[in-house]
């Protein structure tokens, strides 16, 4: 009874917010997108997917030929989950619709980390949801190999509205790589992705997300993370390819003592791309810590790089580092770091810098025999290098590969 009531409440809240613009980013007319797409066949063996699709997925770190480096796989094409599997005990990977049927308690996690009425995009996901994934590690299980998830957009003008739930039970460890991409380099589309993370006591989750859209696609992820005592959430976000407009501001709430949240973002905006990307950490428990690092590069597009740390408990500590590089053209980088401290005994800091490549650094490398082009490439590569603690080597390599694959677009 309670379930039905609560879901009715969510629908009411969603309806009330269905025209509410987001706090940030350009407004999108949802009526110019369609909500339905053809059903896709289920693939028991994902390596049987068409070669061109597999290639697109590989670019965002989703490996379908020989999945022995992944502990689980989930693929959704448009609105249909076409594959889910696991290769390890102690984890679950399935379509969220299937998980809702299987576990009646799952509705307790619905809209707890993200507010359904936050804006028209969250509302639209509630009112017209097209699945998503459910990933869970059971208490005490530690995965070394990552779970991979792919949200794939093939149909033009589709609004892909997914709702993902990720639960890491007490003392478990979970690594996820999510690749979001399109089948084609052209054609408009909209991706609305709600992701709610629940990181229980002592659990650790790393979430590596690689986006590879096209110049006509708009993207509005809505992510919330709740971290309990001694829990760790580590997010790595990479977008190196053109997109029409992307706006997101994931928010992590540390609700248990000594919870830790780290965000690393590497953003590249080509001409015509508009990125508004932030990371927020709300430190509500004693001793919680956060570090937010972003690297923004424009070769002609516009980037708003936001960051926010809020300290609401004793002995919390946070640092925000936001650096931007304007390489060429008429691009803009707007860095907006925010700190909010609500009591004594907290330690929050930030540093932000936006500029061009320092000529002094180019000369230093040229004096060692590098050409100007080689020197510039070396400096840009260094700029994008974010040493990520706690990430398995396969994922570090995956990120590095995605960065390097885009180097020629930058130069």
């Amino acid at each position: 009874m309670r379930e039905i009531e609560s879901s009715q409440t969510y629908r009411d809240k969603a309806k009330a917010a269905s025209a509410k613009p987001a706090a940030f980013g350009r407004d999108i007319d949802l009526s110019s997108y369609v909500n339905s797409a053809d059903e896709q066949p289920y693939r028991a063996d994902p390596s049987k997917l068409p070669a061109e699709d597999k290639e697109r997925m590989l670019e965002v770190g989703v490996v379908l030929d020989g999945t022995n480096q992944r502990s689980g796989t989930f693929i959704q094409m448009d609105n249909t989950p076409v594959h889910s599997s696991i290769r390890q005990e102690g984890i679950e990977v399935m379509a969220v619709s299937q998980a809702l049927e299987k576990y009646d308690w799952l509705s307790d996690y619905w809209w707890q980390a993200v507010a359904v009425g936050a804006d028209k995009y969250t509302a639209n996901v509630e009112l017209s949801q097209h699945n998503g994934y459910f990933i869970r590690t059971l208490r005490g299980y530690k995965t070394v190999l990552p779970v991979q998830a792919c949200l794939y957009l093939t149909k033009a003008r589709l609004s892909q509205n997914v709702h993902n739930i990720i639960i890491a039970e007490e003392d478990s460890e979970l690594h996820i790589i999510t690749g979001c991409t399109t089948a084609s380099n052209e054609g408009s589309g909209l991706h609305l992705g709600v992701s709610e993370f629940y990181i229980e006591r002592g659990a650790k989750v790393t979430f590596t997300m690689i986006h590879n859209w096209n110049p006509e696609v708009a993207v509005r992820p809505r992510t919330g993370i709740i971290v309990e005592q001694d829990g760790v959430f580590l997010s790595n976000y990479l977008i190196m390819k053109p997109v029409h407009s992307l706006q997101m501001y994931p928010t992590a709430k540390c609700v248990g003592e000594n919870a830790v949240v780290r965000y690393n973002s590497i953003l590249l905006a080509a001409q015509g791309s508009s990125l508004d990307v932030g990371s927020r950490a709300i430190l509500n428990a004693k001793g919680a810590k956060t570090e937010i690092i972003s690297r923004a590069i424009t070769t002609g597009g516009n980037i708003v790089a936001r960051g926010c740390i809020e300290g609401n408990a004793p002995d919390v500590k946070g640092h925000l580092e936001c650096r931007g590089l304007i390489l060429q053209g008429a691009g803009t980088i707007h860095a907006i770091p925010e700190l909010k401290g609500n009591l004594a005994g907290i330690d929050l800091s930030h540093e932000a810098a936006v500029g061009k490549i320092a000529e002094e650094e180019v000369e230093y490398l040229m004096a060692r025999g590098l050409t100007r082009a080689e020197a510039t490439a070396t400096i840009v590569r260094g700029f994008m290098r974010v040493d990520i603690e706690g990430l398995p080597p396969t994922l570090s390599a995956e990120l590095q590969r995605a960065v390097e694959a885009s180097e020629k677009d930058i130069m």
Binding site: R323, A358, E360, E361, E363, Y364, L365, M366, A367, R368, G369, L370, T371, R372, E374, A375, T378, I379, R381, G382, F383, M384, R385, V386
Partner: protein
Amino acid sequence: MGVSMSETILSIKKLTVRVEDREILHNINLEIQSGETHVLFGPNGSGKSTLLMAIMGFPRYQISKGNIIFKGMDITMLPMDERARLGIGISFQRPPVVRGVRTHDMVAACLRGREKEQSISRLAGKADLADFLDREINYGFSGGEIKRSEMMQLLAQSPDLVLLDEPESGVDLVNIALIGELINELLEKNCRIRDRKHAGLIITHTGHILNYVNARTGYVMIDGKISCGGDPHEILATIKEKGYEECAKCVK
């Protein structure tokens, strides 16, 4: 009888250098044979560093007259990176931090693929920087660490002409002996004189480096002109005794 013919590695002819709108060096002439080390004395602001920068080819240092001939080739108009690839190397006094670029990457860049990975750790061992290879270049380095890192990069680059700007400045006594050793290796001082190919031009304010590195010739630079040349120890003794005022008289 193998008395090798020394060849002129660097020949500077009537060189005039401007920085922005100011002429800093006036009509400089200088010649260095391969295998030789020369030192350059002079008060602060006399133009010593400008000469090194102009030889290396930093764009800010504009050559308005004269020529720089390196290994028989006129390099006056060549960009800096080409000069580096031809065999000129310089140590930076205050090198920039390049974020995300590790010391290892810099050494590898200096090697330009000539040698294998193991030579990087060998060089780091020599410069006592084994723990620095994974660190961002120059980030949080002390004065001595910067000097050693510059020497390590130059050893990897192995230039025929080494330009060193006050290698002893800001270095404590423990470090200076090691830096002296690294310079001697760079200049092939361990080889027989006739087998040496690498040449050096070293700026020294205090002359202290002469306790560690032998040099054949010394010059004094005053107000953008070379006032004299001769035995470096003799010049140093004169400067210590009478100061640069004595040298200034010679320029007039």
